[in-house]
């Protein structure tokens, strides 16, 4: 047993002749937390999938505790004490926590194939204690919050006696508080001597957690060293391979005077209360709030996906309270949902089909048939303009694109409808720095051309970089509004946290 828990040597992998990992050499020290960063498509997931036995590799060796390790399937990895917590959770929502933990390994009553419930509950309680989850093992997973589910996944990893645990973007659907809890657990796992690989685009989190940092770019290991030698700037530069001087575009155009979207006393029981604001042309209006503050729900009400119970939604000075999303689209409103995988894209349709979807109405011929040539022209135009990385947008499926490019497709399909108001909900979630910057510039251009953008986000930096004004939401209410010249990170955060204080003090 040496100091090195895991060692990749000359690992190489290509898909269809295109190399995605080139000669990866990295040693991971036992009991360390390695922060693995890189742009979308840099090869992080592939490297981890190789380790987890999900995909095979071509050349090179992996050594686990000095022993050659060649996994053939996920069970191999589990047997070798490697546990992979995927970005999308793999829990069975119709089963209890205990059943999820022991699904392949139920304790039985002697030799009879009957589940020994007492034993199951006892075992599960032990693992739940390790992750500080004060829940009954019989609780159904569907009743758990995303944060609690994440912790159940961790408990599941512990139940397989994992010594190496991989976290892939574990915080994307967690509230700030849930994230803190997860970090505390990760640190505790670290203290107990487990080796952890932590993948995330949130560089601040990586800085806080990791002992070492490894940067991948285009399938190569660019940089690797102790965390203290890194700064956020150095990480970004290494990841994108060039200095990004200006992630955010200049907001120089003054906002217009024409009110495009006016929300008056909007309320919905249990969701939002008494929302008032006006969005003008050429304005980017930010909405900041913590997870669960009602931001996304507000967007859904504005777009007509959820009913508005009280108040008024004026779109171009016309009451649109009872308009369906379809009618709102016809009136030139667009909505980029926070969940591109499930709501924003048809993953198994081609890039071109996705891009053309909402604009179909404006390319209709005499018999309501789609005019292919005009649609294709528009779709190709937008794909070029947004620099969507796909060699053949007619053939390639949306699911084959990297996260950043997928997001560009979602925005692109709305651009084709030339929206007057575009509501964007977390447009850069799970997107790397380079693509982020591109998305910011696209949004800025839309606004400069006369549209109003309602920019919803939980990343305060991007709102401060992009918006003319920021509204702050907490518990379904707007608790503050700050103009660009008065932007102050701490002040905004304080407002967003205002009503959460009680809970935090007591933890």
């Amino acid at each position: 047993m040496g100091e090195i828990a895991l060692s990749f040597q000359h690992v190489h992998k290509s898909f269809f002749g295109v190399p995605v990992l080139r000669d990866i050499n990295i040693d991971i020290k036992r009991g360390h937390i390695l922060g693995l960063i890189g742009e979308n498509g840099a090869g992080k997931s592939t490297l981890m999938n190789i380790l987890g036995g999900v995909v095979p590799f071509e050349n090179g060796e992996i050594y686990l505790d000095g022993q050659l390790y060649t996994p053939h399937n996920p069970e191999d990895a589990t047997k070798h004490g490697i546990s992979f917590i995927h970005q999308e959770l793999n829990l069975f929502t119709n089963l209890s926590i205990a059943e999820n933990l022991l699904i392949t390994n139920f304790p039985t009553l002697g030799k009879a194939p009957l589940i020994n419930r007492r034993e199951m509950v006892k075992k599960t309680s032990e693992f739940l204690k390790l992750v500080d989850l004060p829940l009954s093992p019989d609780t159904m997973v569907e009743q758990l919050s995303p944060g609690e589910r994440q912790l159940v996944e961790v408990a599941k990893a512990l139940s397989t006696d994992a010594s190496i645990i991989i976290f892939d973007e574990p915080t994307t659907s967690l509230t700030n508080r849930e994230t803190e809890r997860l970090f505390e657990i990760i640190r505790r796992l670290h203290d107990s001597g487990r080796t952890i690989i932590y993948i995330s685009h949130i560089l601040g989190d990586v800085m806080r957690l990791a002992d070492d940092i490894a940067v991948l770019r285009d399938g190569e290991l660019i940089d690797h060293g102790p965390c203290k030698e890194f700064s956020i700037n150095r990480m970004i530069t290494q990841m994108v391979g060039r200095e990004i001087n200006q992630i955010y575009p200049d907001r120089i155009t003054p906002t217009g005077q024409e009110p495009l979207l006016e929300i008056k006393n909007l309320s919905r029981a249990g969701i939002v209360k008494d929302i008032n604001f006006t969005l003008h042309n050429e304005e980017i209006l930010g909405v900041f709030g913590l997870m669960g503050s009602g931001r996304s729900e507000l967007a859904q009400i504005i777009f007509g996906l959820e009913a508005c119970e009280e108040g008024e939604i004026l779109f171009k000075q016309e009451s649109t309270n009872h308009f369906s999303p379809r009618e709102k689209i016809q009136k030139k409103m667009g909505f980029v949902t926070e969940n591109r995988r499930e709501e924003g894209l048809m993953m198994t349709a081609s890039v071109a089909e996705n891009l053309g979807l909402v604009a179909l109405d404006s390319h209709k011929g005499p018999l309501n048939t789609v005019i292919r040539s005009s649609l294709d022209q528009a779709v190709n135009g937008i794909a070029d303009k947004l620099r969507i990385k796909s060699t053949n947008i007619q053939k390639h499926l949306a699911k084959g694109l990297s996260g950043g490019n997928q997001q560009k497709v979602v925005i692109g399909k709305w651009l084709l409808t030339e929206p007057k108001v575009l509501v964007v909900d977390e447009p850069t979630r799970g997107v790397d720095v380079g693509a982020k910057s591109e998305i910011y510039h696209i949004l800025n251009e839309i606004a400069s051309n006369g549209a109003g953008i309602l920019f919803i986000s939980s990343e305060i930096e991007e709102l401060m970089g992009m918006c003319d004004r920021i509204l702050i939401m907490s518990y379904g209410e707007i608790v503050g509004s700050v103009e660009r010249e008065y932007f102050d990170r701490e002040e905004i955060l304080r407002m967003a946290f205002r009503e959460h204080n009680n809970g935090i003090k007591n933890e």
Partner: protein
Amino acid sequence: MVSKTNNRLILLILKNMPVILFLVIFIGFSVLDQRFFTLQNFDNILRSSAFVGIIAVGMTFVLLTGGIDLSVGAAMYVAGGLVGIMLENNYNLWLTIFAGLLAGVVFGLVNALIITKLKIIPFMATLGTLTAGRGLALLITHSRALSFPASIKVGAVKVLDILPIPVLIFLIIILLAVVVLMLTPLGRQIYALGNDPEAAKKAGLNTDRLTAIVYVISGFCAALAAIVAITQQGRVSASFGNGIEFRAIAAAVLGGTSLFGGVGMVFPGTFVGILLMQMIQTGMVYLQVDGYLQDIVVAGVIFFAIFIDSRRMDLLRKLERRTIRVEKTSDSHLDVKGTQQAG
């Protein structure tokens, strides 16, 4: 808070919709016709539910994995035809029963192989074996209607003077199914598979084996139903088991089993579902509803139940969604602790 308890009540009602629907229709018929609320009638309903009910139990296993078995009627005819031929030729009774059940198991195994090895979706696979199976049964019976002496009709015999044999078998099957689904690793893995096949694979479950098992169970149940039906009807005609798949699927769905897998129960679920259907049919006989109209009414009830079910799922999702306002503490379990201390 008033609205909260209201929601709780609605939730409770919606979650128990099959049972409530059952009670409403039950009371309705009892009021409309006095002959309905009699022991003899209940006995009648149970007895005529038995063999469809057995198939519906097997169907529930298949639906739980997200699959479907359209071939149960054909499996039933194949097993029934084989049993009939063997009875005509005076084979040993127990051997005959064993052969019939084995035929069902083999039938299920064929379905399982087509689905797991040839990767053909269950709908097409079992639609195919439905056609092939009926052909096979016609072939072995030479498309004759087989009739048996009255002594075969043991279906009317009551155990301990209370339970008719078919009902007893039906209840045993339900009990077994409940035990398997709720208390064994196999049962819980079937639920897991139906909930998320991808995750099941990643978790290391042998999904092909699980899939195979549910189709074998369904085939076995169909064969058992054939034997039970023979003891009740005393004959096997060319329409034996015809269209039974619709009634079995409808019973399971009426009882709250989802066609998308992962959700459903044999008891009370499917059990209530099958009784509900049979009750409506019997009730209509008492009310002297036209025979052709009865089919339309039954279909209408099934559509209504499925409609209620989809509305129910919608409402459940809405009601169970976490609210942001109103109770500040219900945001998550984690919050509850902190605020209680604060208060």
